[in-house]
Symmetry: C2
Subunit: 114 residues, 2 copies
Amino acid sequence: MESDKIIERWVPQFRKGLLEFIILLKLQQGDIYGYELAVEIKKLTSIEVAEGTLYPLLNRLKRDGLVTTEWKTAEIGSPRKYYEITSLGIETLAKMKSTWTQTHNSILNMVMQS
Amino acid sequence: MESDKIIERWVPQFRKGLLEFIILLKLQQGDIYGYELAVEIKKLTSIEVAEGTLYPLLNRLKRDGLVTTEWKTAEIGSPRKYYEITSLGIETLAKMKSTWTQTHNSILNMVMQS
DNA sequence: ATAATATACCTTGTATAGCTAGGTATGTTA
DNA sequence: TAACATACCTAGCTATACAAGGTATATTAT
Protein backbone atom coordinates (compact mmCIF):
# COMPACT_ATOMS: atom_id res chain seq x y z
CA MET A 1 0.00 0.00 0.00
CA GLU A 2 1.06 3.57 -0.62
CA SER A 3 2.82 5.33 2.22
CA ASP A 4 0.50 8.35 2.22
CA LYS A 5 -2.54 6.13 2.41
CA ILE A 6 -1.07 4.29 5.39
CA ILE A 7 -0.40 7.56 7.21
CA GLU A 8 -3.92 8.68 6.42
CA ARG A 9 -5.25 5.64 8.24
CA TRP A 10 -2.70 5.87 11.01
CA VAL A 11 -3.31 9.46 12.09
CA PRO A 12 -6.83 8.93 13.48
CA GLN A 13 -5.53 6.05 15.57
CA PHE A 14 -2.59 8.13 16.69
CA ARG A 15 -5.01 10.75 17.89
CA LYS A 16 -7.06 8.45 20.05
CA GLY A 17 -6.75 9.55 23.62
CA LEU A 18 -4.37 12.28 22.57
CA LEU A 19 -7.35 14.38 21.60
CA GLU A 20 -8.78 14.05 25.08
CA PHE A 21 -5.45 15.22 26.47
CA ILE A 22 -5.29 18.21 24.13
CA ILE A 23 -8.85 19.26 24.97
CA LEU A 24 -8.20 19.15 28.72
CA LEU A 25 -5.00 21.16 28.20
CA LYS A 26 -6.97 23.79 26.32
CA LEU A 27 -9.75 23.85 28.92
CA GLN A 28 -7.21 24.49 31.65
CA GLN A 29 -6.44 27.80 29.95
CA GLY A 30 -10.05 28.92 30.35
CA ASP A 31 -13.66 28.10 29.57
CA ILE A 32 -14.50 27.55 25.94
CA TYR A 33 -17.38 26.26 23.79
CA GLY A 34 -17.28 23.35 21.39
CA TYR A 35 -17.15 25.09 18.07
CA GLU A 36 -14.41 27.50 19.18
CA LEU A 37 -12.49 24.54 20.65
CA ALA A 38 -12.35 22.88 17.24
CA VAL A 39 -11.10 26.10 15.65
CA GLU A 40 -8.47 26.59 18.37
CA ILE A 41 -7.19 23.00 18.18
CA LYS A 42 -6.80 23.33 14.44
CA LYS A 43 -4.89 26.57 14.89
CA LEU A 44 -2.65 25.25 17.66
CA THR A 45 -1.98 21.68 16.49
CA SER A 46 -3.07 21.52 12.83
CA ILE A 47 -5.42 18.72 13.88
CA GLU A 48 -8.81 18.97 12.25
CA VAL A 49 -11.33 17.57 14.70
CA ALA A 50 -14.54 16.34 13.09
CA GLU A 51 -17.68 17.45 14.93
CA GLY A 52 -18.76 13.83 15.09
CA THR A 53 -15.60 13.28 17.11
CA LEU A 54 -15.69 16.41 19.25
CA TYR A 55 -19.19 16.47 20.67
CA PRO A 56 -19.36 12.83 21.76
CA LEU A 57 -15.91 13.29 23.33
CA LEU A 58 -17.03 16.34 25.28
CA ASN A 59 -20.09 14.42 26.48
CA ARG A 60 -17.84 11.64 27.73
CA LEU A 61 -15.73 14.15 29.63
CA LYS A 62 -18.88 15.52 31.23
CA ARG A 63 -20.24 12.07 32.01
CA ASP A 64 -16.97 11.22 33.79
CA GLY A 65 -16.99 14.47 35.75
CA LEU A 66 -13.90 16.02 34.16
CA VAL A 67 -15.84 19.04 32.94
CA THR A 68 -19.08 20.88 33.65
CA THR A 69 -21.19 22.74 31.10
CA GLU A 70 -23.20 25.93 31.01
CA TRP A 71 -25.34 27.37 28.23
CA LYS A 72 -24.69 31.03 27.51
CA THR A 73 -26.98 33.04 25.27
CA ALA A 74 -25.54 36.28 23.96
CA GLU A 75 -27.56 39.15 22.48
CA ILE A 76 -26.60 37.98 19.05
CA GLY A 77 -25.61 34.60 17.61
CA SER A 78 -26.59 31.05 18.51
CA PRO A 79 -26.50 29.94 22.16
CA ARG A 80 -23.14 28.45 23.15
CA LYS A 81 -22.44 25.57 25.50
CA TYR A 82 -19.37 26.46 27.53
CA TYR A 83 -17.15 23.79 29.08
CA GLU A 84 -15.28 24.29 32.35
CA ILE A 85 -12.66 21.89 33.70
CA THR A 86 -13.30 20.47 37.19
CA SER A 87 -10.81 19.70 39.95
CA LEU A 88 -11.06 16.04 38.92
CA GLY A 89 -10.27 17.15 35.39
CA ILE A 90 -7.18 19.02 36.57
CA GLU A 91 -6.06 16.04 38.63
CA THR A 92 -6.53 13.70 35.68
CA LEU A 93 -4.75 16.08 33.34
CA ALA A 94 -1.68 16.07 35.60
CA LYS A 95 -1.47 12.29 35.27
CA MET A 96 -1.88 12.50 31.52
CA LYS A 97 0.96 15.00 31.35
CA SER A 98 3.15 12.59 33.28
CA THR A 99 2.26 9.67 30.98
CA TRP A 100 2.83 11.82 27.93
CA THR A 101 6.26 13.01 29.09
CA GLN A 102 7.38 9.51 29.98
CA THR A 103 6.27 8.08 26.64
CA HIS A 104 7.80 10.93 24.70
CA ASN A 105 11.16 10.46 26.39
CA SER A 106 11.15 6.76 25.55
CA ILE A 107 10.33 7.44 21.92
CA LEU A 108 12.95 10.17 21.71
CA ASN A 109 15.56 7.68 22.86
CA MET A 110 14.51 5.24 20.13
CA VAL A 111 14.50 7.94 17.48
CA MET A 112 17.99 9.07 18.46
CA GLN A 113 19.35 5.55 18.37
CA SER A 114 18.14 5.03 14.82
CA MET B 1 -15.40 8.77 38.35
CA GLU B 2 -12.05 8.26 40.04
CA SER B 3 -9.03 9.81 38.38
CA ASP B 4 -6.98 6.59 38.35
CA LYS B 5 -9.82 4.71 36.70
CA ILE B 6 -10.09 7.35 34.01
CA ILE B 7 -6.37 7.12 33.27
CA GLU B 8 -6.65 3.34 33.16
CA ARG B 9 -9.19 3.66 30.38
CA TRP B 10 -7.35 6.48 28.68
CA VAL B 11 -3.94 4.83 28.31
CA PRO B 12 -5.05 2.15 25.79
CA GLN B 13 -6.59 4.87 23.65
CA PHE B 14 -3.48 6.98 23.96
CA ARG B 15 -1.44 4.06 22.68
CA LYS B 16 -3.47 3.50 19.55
CA GLY B 17 -1.33 4.19 16.56
CA LEU B 18 1.54 5.07 18.85
CA LEU B 19 2.25 1.39 19.22
CA GLU B 20 2.61 1.00 15.48
CA PHE B 21 5.09 3.86 15.50
CA ILE B 22 7.11 2.36 18.36
CA ILE B 23 7.27 -1.04 16.66
CA LEU B 24 8.53 0.43 13.39
CA LEU B 25 11.12 2.44 15.32
CA LYS B 26 12.32 -0.72 16.97
CA LEU B 27 12.38 -2.67 13.71
CA GLN B 28 14.54 0.00 12.12
CA GLN B 29 17.24 -0.92 14.64
CA GLY B 30 17.31 -4.50 13.37
CA ASP B 31 15.26 -7.63 12.76
CA ILE B 32 13.39 -9.01 15.74
CA TYR B 33 10.72 -11.61 16.48
CA GLY B 34 7.36 -10.97 18.13
CA TYR B 35 7.95 -12.25 21.59
CA GLU B 36 11.26 -10.41 21.97
CA LEU B 37 9.64 -7.27 20.61
CA ALA B 38 7.10 -7.29 23.45
CA VAL B 39 9.88 -7.72 26.00
CA GLU B 40 11.94 -4.92 24.43
CA ILE B 41 9.02 -2.47 24.26
CA LYS B 42 8.25 -3.09 27.92
CA LYS B 43 11.89 -2.47 28.81
CA LEU B 44 12.23 0.67 26.69
CA THR B 45 8.84 2.33 27.23
CA SER B 46 7.21 0.60 30.22
CA ILE B 47 4.35 -0.24 27.89
CA GLU B 48 3.08 -3.77 28.36
CA VAL B 49 1.84 -4.96 24.98
CA ALA B 50 -0.73 -7.74 25.15
CA GLU B 51 -0.10 -10.57 22.69
CA GLY B 52 -3.63 -10.14 21.44
CA THR B 53 -2.55 -6.64 20.45
CA LEU B 54 0.91 -7.41 19.12
CA TYR B 55 0.39 -10.29 16.70
CA PRO B 56 -2.61 -8.84 14.85
CA LEU B 57 -0.72 -5.54 14.61
CA LEU B 58 2.34 -7.26 13.12
CA ASN B 59 0.08 -9.02 10.63
CA ARG B 60 -1.39 -5.68 9.60
CA LEU B 61 2.10 -4.28 9.06
CA LYS B 62 2.90 -7.28 6.87
CA ARG B 63 -0.37 -7.04 4.95
CA ASP B 64 0.38 -3.38 4.19
CA GLY B 65 3.93 -4.15 3.07
CA LEU B 66 5.73 -2.31 5.87
CA VAL B 67 7.51 -5.47 7.01
CA THR B 68 8.43 -8.90 5.71
CA THR B 69 8.70 -12.07 7.79
CA GLU B 70 10.96 -15.09 7.91
CA TRP B 71 10.78 -18.19 10.10
CA LYS B 72 14.03 -19.13 11.75
CA THR B 73 14.49 -22.45 13.50
CA ALA B 74 17.42 -22.67 15.86
CA GLU B 75 18.98 -25.89 17.20
CA ILE B 76 17.09 -25.39 20.42
CA GLY B 77 13.88 -23.57 21.34
CA SER B 78 10.66 -22.88 19.43
CA PRO B 79 10.84 -21.54 15.89
CA ARG B 80 10.80 -17.74 15.71
CA LYS B 81 9.13 -15.52 13.15
CA TYR B 82 11.48 -12.62 12.45
CA TYR B 83 10.21 -9.27 11.17
CA GLU B 84 12.22 -7.04 8.86
CA ILE B 85 11.24 -3.49 7.93
CA THR B 86 10.86 -2.75 4.20
CA SER B 87 11.74 0.42 2.30
CA LEU B 88 8.05 1.32 2.38
CA GLY B 89 8.18 0.82 6.14
CA ILE B 90 11.14 3.17 6.45
CA GLU B 91 9.43 5.76 4.27
CA THR B 92 6.25 5.53 6.34
CA LEU B 93 8.21 5.71 9.57
CA ALA B 94 9.81 8.99 8.47
CA LYS B 95 6.34 10.52 8.04
CA MET B 96 5.25 9.22 11.41
CA LYS B 97 8.31 10.81 13.01
CA SER B 98 7.38 14.11 11.41
CA THR B 99 3.77 13.87 12.63
CA TRP B 100 4.93 12.91 16.08
CA THR B 101 7.40 15.81 16.35
CA GLN B 102 4.86 18.32 15.12
CA THR B 103 2.19 17.13 17.55
CA HIS B 104 4.64 17.02 20.42
CA ASN B 105 5.74 20.59 19.82
CA SER B 106 2.12 21.79 19.78
CA ILE B 107 1.37 20.01 23.02
CA LEU B 108 4.55 21.31 24.61
CA ASN B 109 3.44 24.85 23.84
CA MET B 110 0.07 24.23 25.48
CA VAL B 111 1.67 22.64 28.54
CA MET B 112 4.01 25.58 28.96
CA GLN B 113 1.20 28.10 28.70
CA SER B 114 -0.75 26.40 31.48
C1' DA C 1 9.24 -39.10 36.04
C1' DT C 2 6.26 -35.33 36.34
C1' DA C 3 4.62 -30.92 37.36
C1' DA C 4 5.29 -26.14 36.75
C1' DT C 5 7.11 -22.39 34.36
C1' DA C 6 8.97 -19.89 30.37
C1' DT C 7 9.22 -19.30 25.55
C1' DA C 8 6.77 -18.49 21.19
C1' DC C 9 3.15 -18.39 18.23
C1' DC C 10 -2.01 -17.58 17.25
C1' DT C 11 -7.46 -16.45 17.32
C1' DT C 12 -12.18 -15.00 18.91
C1' DG C 13 -15.12 -11.75 20.92
C1' DT C 14 -15.90 -7.23 23.27
C1' DA C 15 -15.56 -2.36 24.18
C1' DT C 16 -14.39 1.97 22.60
C1' DA C 17 -13.22 5.92 19.79
C1' DG C 18 -12.66 8.61 15.40
C1' DC C 19 -15.01 9.62 11.29
C1' DT C 20 -18.59 10.07 7.62
C1' DA C 21 -22.74 11.76 6.65
C1' DG C 22 -26.46 13.19 7.89
C1' DG C 23 -29.68 16.63 10.73
C1' DT C 24 -31.50 21.35 13.12
C1' DA C 25 -31.41 26.26 13.96
C1' DT C 26 -29.72 31.05 13.95
C1' DG C 27 -27.17 34.91 12.04
C1' DT C 28 -24.69 37.30 8.31
C1' DT C 29 -23.42 38.50 3.74
C1' DA C 30 -23.83 38.72 -1.42
C1' DT D 1 -33.49 35.68 -1.12
C1' DA D 2 -29.95 32.64 -1.65
C1' DA D 3 -25.61 31.24 0.15
C1' DC D 4 -22.52 30.81 3.71
C1' DA D 5 -20.87 30.72 8.51
C1' DT D 6 -21.82 29.73 13.20
C1' DA D 7 -23.26 26.33 16.64
C1' DC D 8 -25.18 22.36 18.30
C1' DC D 9 -26.28 17.16 17.82
C1' DT D 10 -26.72 11.80 16.41
C1' DA D 11 -26.65 7.10 13.88
C1' DG D 12 -23.91 3.86 11.76
C1' DC D 13 -19.33 2.25 10.14
C1' DT D 14 -14.69 0.83 10.80
C1' DA D 15 -10.53 -0.03 13.16
C1' DT D 16 -7.88 -1.13 17.20
C1' DA D 17 -6.49 -2.52 22.06
C1' DC D 18 -7.38 -5.97 25.14
C1' DA D 19 -9.05 -10.12 27.73
C1' DA D 20 -9.24 -14.75 27.50
C1' DG D 21 -8.71 -18.45 25.41
C1' DG D 22 -5.68 -21.96 22.59
C1' DT D 23 -1.22 -24.87 20.73
C1' DA D 24 3.51 -26.48 21.09
C1' DT D 25 8.31 -26.84 22.72
C1' DA D 26 11.99 -26.30 26.20
C1' DT D 27 13.60 -25.77 30.80
C1' DT D 28 13.54 -26.11 35.75
C1' DA D 29 11.87 -27.79 40.24
C1' DT D 30 9.92 -31.43 42.92
